[in-house]
Amino acid sequence: MSSILSSIDVMLQDGFMYAILAMGYYVSYTILDFPDLTVEGTVLSGGVAFGLLVRAGVNPWLALVVSFLVGFAFGALTGFLHVKLGIRPLLCGILVSTALISINLVITVVGMGGTWAGDGALSTIELGRSVPTLLRTFPANLLPTDFYGFNVQRLVTFFFIALVCKFLLDAYLKTKNGLLLRAAGSNSQYVTMLAKDQRVCKVLGLAIGNGYAAVSGALIVQSRGNVNQGMGIGMVVIGLASLIIGLSLFGKVRFMKSTTAVILGSVIYQACLGLATLLGVPSAYNKIIMAVLFTLALVGSSALKKGAEKNA
């Protein structure tokens, strides 16, 4: 019984954590129609920035904001490669995320006391017991860590951060600038006719998407207690699958914002993964399950769309 409760705890926590990544994809993939592979690198960059800063004693909430900015900058770089140099979307993401493998590694090593040549220190960052992480500082530390098997402290904190990200994105999309971003995704010629440079909108959208991916990465580090150079792998699938599950199941529900649908999609996706573990599937098969779930989500969303067209 307690193992079921603790898996529900992990499902929810992971759901909120990856929901932020999926919301980033909502901007780059759903709004701008840009299949952005940069996140494989920016999730880790966000984690590295957060891990190093928190370890150095910086306020973890501030570190969270910094990791957003780091992701924002690299997302903007992807956008720049696309709009200025005319490189295709998929290739831009591959280029930046490949470069980030080195950048993240070197920054980690240097941050841990190594050299710029990339050696002399570990390539992992451990957040030991004495490090003032998000949960060990005010206000999260006021919450109980154990409540009928639920880690309320972690759950509430992650939920709160996901909600803040959701409301900020909703609010932004309602502003003049946000409206222009949506217009750029829908019909870039329209933005040109409004005498605005649609390329700027695209760069900004990708920057926001990767900023969110980096915040998600920071929470992954917070949750696992360490930074691992391989933690970015598989993020494209997690983010897109959560997004597509959310939008295809709840996208048509009235009075529900797309961002809410995306959070629910992320929780459902993590619940499916958690269920597989509960049923005894070895963790080595995790990525296969992820890919299968993603395939199901894609097929399901196009089947739902066809159904809706027939009904219309």
Binding site: K176, G185, S186, N187, A195
Partner: protein
């Protein structure tokens, strides 16, 4: 107002398909003119509009707007003063946004797109009055996504939107061509109403000879990158569809003979 000076345009330069469309092309449009442009496919009508709007750069020559050289100015900067309605009804509006959001964006044209509220509720009544002029009931469907409107409604909306800003020039790029006869009549009527009201300098490319004769103050027929007919005033008033058709036929025979 607008001058095209010695414009040359070659397509597919350096390939076996190289073709010279414009060779020292010249055109002058005066302030307040409403020019109808007709011509067969490939005669250079749309290319001319693309040159004016900046989606295509000439190989040589200058484009002057209000006496200022805009040849090197980017398309989005020119859009500050030049509005455009396209043949494709999907281009003039955003399908994924509501009518209200589309209009709110247009309302903010040439201003800063900052972090203030996107749709100003105080302006909604003004948007309604604008839409009422279309007489299509759009004023009651402000929250409808534009993607679910018909082609005629979208084109009417695109016209309203293009006219929301104080422009110096309006470019109409076969904007009734994709519509059914009834809608194209309605949209053309609307166009005339807008142009008359704002006295805006306009350039309209059309395949509809009757529209070209009935509307506008000047008529140009293009053929192989040249203006072969350029009439205005009384002369234009006296022109009829048959005259234009005759010229069209003559051209086709010439082209046929050449082949």
């Amino acid at each position: 107002m607008l001058e095209l000076e010695n414009i040359s345009v070659t397509f597919n330069k350096g390939t076996p398909d190289e073709s010279l469309l414009f060779d020292n092309f010249n055109l002058k449009v005066d302030e307040g003119e409403f020019v109808s442009v007709i011509g067969s496919n490939g005669s250079g009508k749309t290319t001319m509009l693309n040159l004016i709007c900046g989606s295509l750069a000439p190989d040589s020559g200058r484009i002057l707007f209000d006496g200022k050289d805009i040849t090197k100015m980017s398309e989005f900067r020119r859009a500050k003063r030049i509005g455009r309605v396209f043949q494709d009804t999907k281009v003039g509006t955003c399908a994924d946004l509501t009518i209200l959001e589309n209009m709110a964006l247009a309302d903010n044209k040439n201003k800063i797109f900052g972090l203030s509220r996107g749709v100003n509720p105080k302006r909604v009544d003004y948007y309604r009055t604008l839409l009422e002029e279309c007489e299509m009931g759009l004023e009651n469907r402000l929250h409808t996504h534009v993607g679910s409107l018909s082609g005629g409604q979208r084109q009417a909306l695109a016209l309203v939107i293009a006219n929301m800003t104080d422009l110096d020039m309006l470019i109409l790029d076969e904007h009734t061509a994709a519509l059914d006869p009834k809608s194209s009549e309605t949209v053309m009527h609307l166009t005339d109403k807008f142009v008359h009201k704002s006295k805006i300098t306009s350039l309209m490319v059309t395949h509809n000879l009757r529209f070209a004769i009935e509307y506008g103050t000047r008529l140009i027929m293009m053929h192989e990158g040249k203006c072969i007919v350029d009439i205005r005033g009384e002369e234009k008033k006296n022109a009829c569809v048959d005259d234009l058709l005759n010229i069209f036929n003559k051209i086709s025979i010439e082209v046929g003979n050449n082949v």
